[in-house]
């Protein structure tokens, strides 16, 4: 018997005809996402808030830092002050518009950095498993065991006030959470038959991670990370509220909530506005993330 070592295929027989384009995975996700009215609405709100932050210079009717001792704590609807004035007589609407910049940044930046580091840690631990996984994940668990608010405050307090330090402390809070999700998703993928099959064709770990693991785990990790943006915003606001984040007079929603706290009996509606802004933004991010998750959570 002779070992056949070639495929006797005439090349002309497969003179590559035009391929029918497959709609693919992401178009399916988009189609399902579009059907989810709530998620689409939340996405539009997020988009509007982002645009508002970017074009704050054009949208804000007044200088957010110009104060007026004569016009302190004006109610909503005062001429020239559509959303009232704060305790230093600054235009609330302008401050809320400008505040979106820092608040969004404080929401997104720590989550993004934590997404990068947490994914690397979690995917490595999940993929290589064994003792390496145990060491890495138990270390992560030590951080995870702290309530995130306490950990953020403690780290911020230790590092000192400031935007950079609050971003750093929030990043440290989120890395373990993202790493845990990344690890559990990767562990599932690692034992999938297609990874076994890839290993059986002689592929090394690097190739398997690049071709077979990343594409299947980054989506779910990303969705989880978007749900952390609202948490990050709220924690950042909390840090500012405690005087550990932004410093006055920079407009930032958490800080505004803090400084207006004393005026809660005088102008409750005005004092609540930064809270409303935080609420709307964070719930929109959450609903968007939920929508993404259910759109992506389909076999195939």
């Amino acid at each position: 018997m002779t070992a056949v070592t070639g495929l006797d295929v005439p090349k002309t027989a497969v003179a590559v005809p035009p391929l029918l384009k497959s709609p693919g995975y992401w178009s399916g996700v988009w189609r399902r996402f579009k059907r989810d009215k709530v998620a689409v609405a939340a996405g539009i709100v997020v988009l509007l808030i982002v645009l508002m932050a970017i074009f704050a210079d054009y949208l804000a009717p007044a200088d957010p830092t110009r104060s007026s001792m004569l016009r302190r704590l004006r109610p909503i609807g005062t001429p020239g002050y559509p959303l009232g004035a704060d305790e230093l007589g600054r235009d609330m609407l302008s401050r809320l518009i400008y505040g979106a910049r820092l608040s969004l940044f404080m929401g997104v930046a720590p989550v993004f950095i934590a997404f990068v580091f947490g994914s690397v840690i979690g995917i490595a631990a999940g993929f290589f498993g064994g003792r390496f996984n145990t060491v890495v994940m138990r270390t992560v668990d030590v951080f995870y065991a702290f309530p995130s608010v306490l950990l953020a405050i403690a780290l911020s307090g230790a590092l000192g006030a400031g935007i950079f330090n609050s971003i750093l402390s929030l990043t440290i809070v989120f890395i373990p959470q993202i790493a845990r999700i990344a690890e559990s998703v990767t562990t599932q993928v690692r034992s999938a038959d297609y990874v076994e099959a890839a290993r059986a064709s002689g592929a090394g770990s690097g190739t398997i991670i690049k071709v077979h693991v990343l594409g299947n785990v980054l989506g779910p990790i990303f969705v989880y990370a978007t749900s952390l943006i609202s948490v990050s915003m709220i924690l950042a606001s909390g840090l500012s509220f405690l005087g550990l984040g932004t410093k006055p007079p920079t407009p930032e929603w958490g800080l505004m909530l803090n400084t207006l706290r004393t005026a809660i009996y005088v102008q409750p509606w005005v004092a609540a506005l930064p809270g409303v802004a935080i609420f709307i933004t964070s719930i929109s991010f959450n609903l968007l993330s939920d929508g993404l998750r259910s759109a992506m959570d389909v076999k195939g």
Partner: protein, 348 residues
Amino acid sequence: MTLTLYVEDAQDRGGAGTPLLQAKALTKHFPLGGGAVVRAVDGVDFSVLKGETLGVVGESGCGKSTTARVVMQLIPQDKGELLFDGEAVGTRALSLKDYRRQAQMVFQDSYASLNPRLTIEDSVAFGPTVHGVPKAAAIERARELLAKVGLDPARFAARYPHELSGGQRQRVNIARALALGPRLVILDEAVSALDKSVEAQVLNLLADLREEFGLTYVFISHDLNVVRFISDRVMVMYLGEVVEIGPVEDLYDDPRHPYTRALLSAMPSMDPDNRTMEAPLAGDPPNPINPPEGCRFHPRCPHAQTVCAKVKPALVATSDAEGARRVACHMEIAGSGHSRAPALESAA
């Protein structure tokens, strides 16, 4: 014009007489902690000849799939040796990567064994690219293979696994396994999850491909009819051990081990006069964590005697079929002490 194969050294090295694959005392135990050990594969010996199909049958949990995974080196064996064409796998003579170009596997779950985020041509082309074939050439080859397994590349190459039926996906998996030009293909319950009609088509495809590419198959299944159709020889496993091995027709016509006999009589018969009237085997297979002493089948065996509970029967050649049949049963071993054992030569 023939396509050159990327595996240059896939030639027959050992000659036709050397089995393509030899497993020697292959053992894989899974520790459970607390000292308990699952003896999934316990000293399995077999060889697969060039160009033949070896069927592997046995109940769930008998170690069929673990054997397959050890043979593929997806999990390392604890003990024992694996020879491919006469050379030990994982040594300098035959590195793991070289071995994996020549031995491939098709899994049972056609969906789980394809990456949902890759088009099927990318999945098929993945193996060759790992071995240094340029992407464009690998894709071209993938399309040719898809055509070979009956999937029109124009219609299917750019599709994703979830857009295909189970039978189509299993064809893709077969194409993927063939992409490296292997000599040995392990089919682990490869047709078990398919509809009967689709199963028949895929079996015919496998038979055609074996013919065309001179493949050697290890065909693992719990379906005795399918194994009979495709195999040249059959190996019966029970609790991590080989109890009987032999040419398919001999084994089906004249099963020698009581377990093989029970397994075969459990097959539904098409003949109304020849129905199975009572369950041939009672109970479940014993726990592989603590397998019975002696012959592992003795607690369920209708012919068990005291010797069976004490001494473990070796897998020995029977007197007939020129030694191609081997059975691990005291009733076949002369002088074993079992009352049905053949008399010793000297006594005769």
